[in-house]
Amino acid sequence: MPEPLIYDLSAPGRVGVTLPDSDVPAAELPKGLVREDLPMPELSEMEVVRHFVRLSQYNHGVDIGFYPLGSCTMKYNPKINEDAARMPGFALTHPLQDPDTAQGNLALMYALQEWLKEIGGFASVSLQPAAGAHGELTGILIIRAYHRDRGDEQRTKILVPDSAHGTNPATTTMSGMEVVEIPSDERGNIDLSELQKLCGDDIAGLMLTNPNTLGLFEEHVKEVVDLIHGCGGLIYGDGANMNALLGIVRPGDLGFDVLHYNLHKTFSTPHGGGGPGSGPVGVSEKLVDFLPGPIVDILDEGDDEEPPIYGLVKPKKTIGRVKAFLGHFGMHVRAYTYMRMQGKHGLRAVSDHAVLNANYLRVKLNDTYHVPFDRINMHEFVIQGEFKDAPDVHALDISKRLMDFGIHPPTNYFPLIVPEALMIEPTETETKETLDEFIEVMKKIAREAREDPEILHTAPHETPFGRLDEVQAARQLVLCCMPADFQEKVES
C-alpha cells in the first residue's frame, strides 16, 4: 500500500508545533505585498512522524543491508559522526560571526585541510566545494585560470578517458573548455599511443580517475603524467576512488596537480539519500594561489601558553567563490571525527580491507560471471551481467533480482565501455560472511538465469514496490501535487 501524500493527510486547522505569542506590537503589513493563499499542509506532530517513518521504511540503506554500489563507497557511517556534527557549539554557529568567536570551527577545518593535504600529497586544500562534481568544476576552473595567468590562452582542451564518470565531460563543458575523449586499451588503461598523438600546446589538462572506474590502477600512470606535463598540461585527479589509496600512494606524489576528495565516500560522511556531499580540492604548489577562497590559515602561531589564532584568507589569484560561506561544515566535522579516530594506521587499514574485499569477491565470482579485466583490482571491479546461454537476461534483471535477497544492486551499465556492466564495490566495513552470502546469491541468480529467467525478468518480488514505469513518468510529467481545495481554486 503506497503511503498517502503529505497533502492527503492534511486537515484544516491542525497544527504540528506551538509557537510563542508575539511580545512586540504588530507592525503594519506592506500593502499589496502579502500573499492570499499559503497552501501548506496541516498535520499534527504525530502524523508528521508516522508519515516520514513509514516513508523511511520503503528505503534501503547501508544500515539495513549490503550496498555494493560501485564508485559510491557505501561504507558504514559511524554514529558518533552524527553526534559530533550536532554538538551545539558546532551546529549553532553562524558562518559570518567574527572568526575570533569561531576558533574551534576554524581549528577543526584547519586540521582537516592539513590531513587531506598529507593524504593526497598536496600543498594546499580548500574545503569549500559542496560535492564531488562541484570539486571537479573547481579543479577545472583552477587549471583554466593557471594557463590564462601564464598567457597560455590557447590551451582549451581537456582530455577525458572513455571510462570516466559523466561528470568529467560535463564539468569541462561548464568551464568553457572542450572535451577530447581518449580510448582505453585492452588492459583497461589509457591508450598511450592515442594519448601521445593528442598531446600539444592546446592541451589544458587531463582528467584522470585512478584507480579508474574499472577499479584498476592505471598501469602507466607515470607515463601518462609525464606525457601531459611534457606538453604543458596539468593532471586533474578525480578522487572518487580514494578509498583504495589511503597510505598506499599519494596522488600528489604521482604528479597530479589537482584532486577532489569525496568526504561522503572515503571519509564516511553519510550519503543522505543523494546529498549533501562534500568535495574538498587539493592542489600542487603552482596552483595554490588559484584555490577558491576563503580557506583557513594560522594568523598567529601562538606559543606554549596561547593557542594559535586561525583566520580566513583569500588566495591571491583565486578563481573566486564556488559557493556561499565556507563549505559543508557539518560534513567537515563528521570527516574530522572519522579521520581522527582512524588515525594514520587505521586509514591504511581502510584501504587494505577495501581492496581485500573487492579482490575476494572478484576471484569468487569470476567462474560464474565474465570479468572483462580479470587482474588484481583495487577497491572495486566490474563484471558483465550477461550469459551466452541465457541471452534474454540483462544486468538490469540481475540487479532487480538482488533486491529480493535484501541486497542493493551494484552500479549498473557503467562504465559505458563494458557491455552489461555491473560495478561492485563492497567497501572495508563488510564482513566475510556478508561477502560469502552475496557470492551465493550471485551464483543462485546465475543458475536462475538459465533455469527460470522469468523470475529475473519480473523481479523484484519481495520489495514493497515492483518495477516502476519510467517511460510513463517521462511522458506524462507529474512533478508536483497540491492541496485539493487549492487545485480547485487554481482551475477556476
Partner: protein, 447 residues
C-alpha cells in the same frame, strides 16, 4: 577496529583465495618509489577521546544559544522543531544514496516529490527540481538555464546589487569561461528602475532578490514585464521563510525562483550544508539542471516515484549535459519538508510575522537613538540597514563583550556603505533581548 570487522582468520583465508601472501602484494601496479608513504598523521584515538577533543573544540566557539543574535545576511537563526532532526536521524534516509533503484528507494523519492510540491506552492511556480547545493549555486544554475534557453546567442546578465554579494561572486566564478557581460551591480543603489534601463535584446537573464539583501520587499511586477518585453528570463532569489507571508514571486511573473532553503529547518552549522531551491515555469523543465522526481505506477498498479527526464543529466548527456550536477541536497530537502509539514499553514505564517514584527520593533527603537539612522526607505521584512556613528567592527566588538552578536558590516562588500550595519531579527530574540541590544547601541554611540 570498530569499522573493519575482519578477524585474522578472515584475512588469511581471503588473501589465500586471492592468491597473494599479504596486503602489500595487492599493489603491484602502484609505482614502487611512491608506494606506501609514511603519512604524517596522528595516531588513532578512541570514540571517548575524540568526543572529548570535539567537545573542547566546540566550546571554543561562541554558540548562538549563549548569545543574542542579530546577524543574518543570508543565513538565519530560526527555531527548528525537535521532530525535524528525529526524522533526519532515520538511518533509512541518511544511509541511502541517490534513488537510482526506485523499488527500494520510494521513501527518498516520495519525500523529494513532496519537497518539489511544497516548493512550487511556496514560490508560486510550476516545477521544482530536487535542489542544488545552496542559494548561490542555484542562482548560477539559473544563469546557465537562461544561456541554454537562448542557445548561447545572448551574453548579458543583469544582477541587482541587492543580491547577496557572495551569490554574485559565485555567478562570476561559474561563468568565467563563458564570455558573459555581467551588469547592474556596479552601484549599490541601483534600484529596479535602473536595472530595467539596462535590459536589451542581448540580455539573457535579469535577477533580483526578494526580500533583497538589505531587507527590502519590492513589487517586481514592472521589472517582470520589462524582462518579458525583451525576451530575457526574470529570476528572483527569494527567502522561502519570507514567502510564508509575502506574495509569491510567481505572481509577478518570475521565470525562475531560486533561494536559500536554510531558514526552513536547517541548522546554521557554520555555513552548511544548506539547500539550494530551484523552481521554474513549465516551459523550462527540459532545460533546467538537477534531479527531478516524477509520478508513475509500478508493475502492481501502485502509485510510485522515479527520477525522470534523466536524459538532461551528465551521466547520459556527458559533455552536452545542462550541468555537471549529480547530487542534490537530499537530506536537507527532507529537513525542509518535515519543517514545513510540522509548521503548516498557520505556523509558517506565524514565524514570518514574528520575524516581521520584531524587526520593525527593533528598527523603530534603533531609529530613535541619536547617531543611528534606519537607512531603509521601502517596506522591509526581517532585516534592515542602520547607519552607525562608528565603524561597525568596533561596535560589534563591544557588543560581543555582553554576548550580543551584532549585524553584518556592509562596508565589506559595498564601499559606499561604510559604517552601515545590516541587522537581522528573527523569532529567536525576545523583546528583552532587543531592548538590551538597543541600550547597548545607545551606549556605544555615546562612548
Amino acid at each position: 577496529m570498530a569499522y573493519i570487522p575482519h578477524t585474522d582468520k578472515d584475512r588469511q583465508e581471503m588473501l589465500a583465495e586471492i592468491g597473494v601472501a599479504g596486503f602489500d602484494e595487492l599493489y603491484q601496479d602502484v609505482p614502487e618509489d611512491v608506494r606506501f608513504p609514511d603519512l604524517d598523521l596522528p595516531e588513532s584515538v578512541s570514540e571517548m577521546e575524540v568526543m572529548e577533543q570535539l567537545q573542547a573544540l566546540s566550546e571554543a566557539n561562541l554558540e548562538l544559544g549563549h548569545a543574542s543574535c542579530f546577524l543574518g545576511a543570508g543565513a538565519y537563526y530560526h527555531y527548528v522543531p525537535s521532530v525535524v532532526d528525529h526524522i533526519l536521524r532515520r538511518n533509512e534516509f541518511y544511509t541511502a544514496y541517490t534513488p537510482y533503484q526506485p523499488e527500494i528507494s520510494q521513501g527518498t523519492l516520495q519525500a523529494i516529490f513532496e519537497y518539489q510540491s511544497l516548493m512550487c506552492q511556496l514560490t508560486g511556480m510550476d516545477v521544482s527540481n530536487a535542489s542544488h547545493y545552496d542559494g548561490a549555486t542555484a542562482l548560477a544554475e539559473a544563469v546557465i538555464l537562461a544561456l541554454n534557453t537562448h542557445r548561447g546567442k545572448r551574453s548579458k546578465v543583469i544582477l541587482s546589487p541587492a543580491i547577496h554579494p557572495q551569490y554574485r561572486q559565485v555567478v562570476r566564478t561559474y561563468t568565467q569561461g563563458m564570455d558573459l557581460e555581467i551588469a547592474g551591480d556596479e552601484k549599490c543603489d541601483n534600484g529596479p528602475e535602473d536595472l530595467i534601463a539596462l535590459l536589451d535584446d542581448n540580455t539573457t537573464l535579469i535577477a533580483v532578490q526578494y526580500p533583497d539583501f538589505f531587507g527590502h520587499i519590492d513589487d517586481y511586477t514592472e521589472l517582470g514585464k520589462a524582462a518579458e518585453d525583451v525576451g530575457a528570463l526574470f529570476c528572483v532569489v527569494a527567502n522561502p521563510l519570507a514567502l510564508g507571508l509575502l506574495k509569491p514571486p510567481g505572481e509577478f511573473g518570475a521565470d525562475v525562483v531560486v533561494g536559500e532553503g536554510q531558514p526552513l529547518g536547517i541548522p546554521l552549522s557554520y555555513g552548511g550544508p544548506y539547500l539550494g531551491i530551484f523552481t521554474t515555469s513549465d516551459k523550462y523543465v527540459r532545460k533546467m539542471a538537477g534531479r527531478l522526481v516524477g509520478e508513475t505506477v509500478d508493475t502492481r498498479g501502485q502509485r510510485g516515484y522515479v527520477l525522470t527526464l534523466t536524459p538532461r543529466e551528465q551521466h547520459i548527456r556527458r559533455e552536452k549535459a545542462t550541468s555537471n550536477i549529480c547530487t542534490n541536497q537530499g537530506l536537507m530537502a527532507l529537513a525542509s519538508v518535515v519543517y514545513l509539514s510540522t509548521m503548516g499553514k498557520a505556523g509558517l505564517r506565524k514565524v514570518a510575522e514574528l520575524c516581521y514584527n520584531k524587526a520593525h520593533y527593533a528598527a523603530e527603537k534603533i531609529g530613535q537613538i541619536d547617531g543611528f539612522k534606519v537607512w531603509n526607505f521601502k517596506p522591509f521584512f526581517h532585516e534592515f540597514v542602520i547607519s552607525c556613528p562608528r565603524p561597525v567592527a568596533e561596535i560589534n566588538d563591544e557588543l560581543l563583550d555582553i554576548d550580543i552578536i551584532g549585524g553584518y558590516d556592509l562596508g565589506q562588500d559595498y564601499p559606499d556603505m561604510k559604517d552601515h550595519m545590516l541587522v537581522a531579527v528573527t523569532e529567536m530574540v525576545s523583546v528583552d533581548e532587543i531592548d538590551d541590544f538597543v541600550a547597548a547601541l545607545e551606549e556605544v554611540a555615546n562612548a
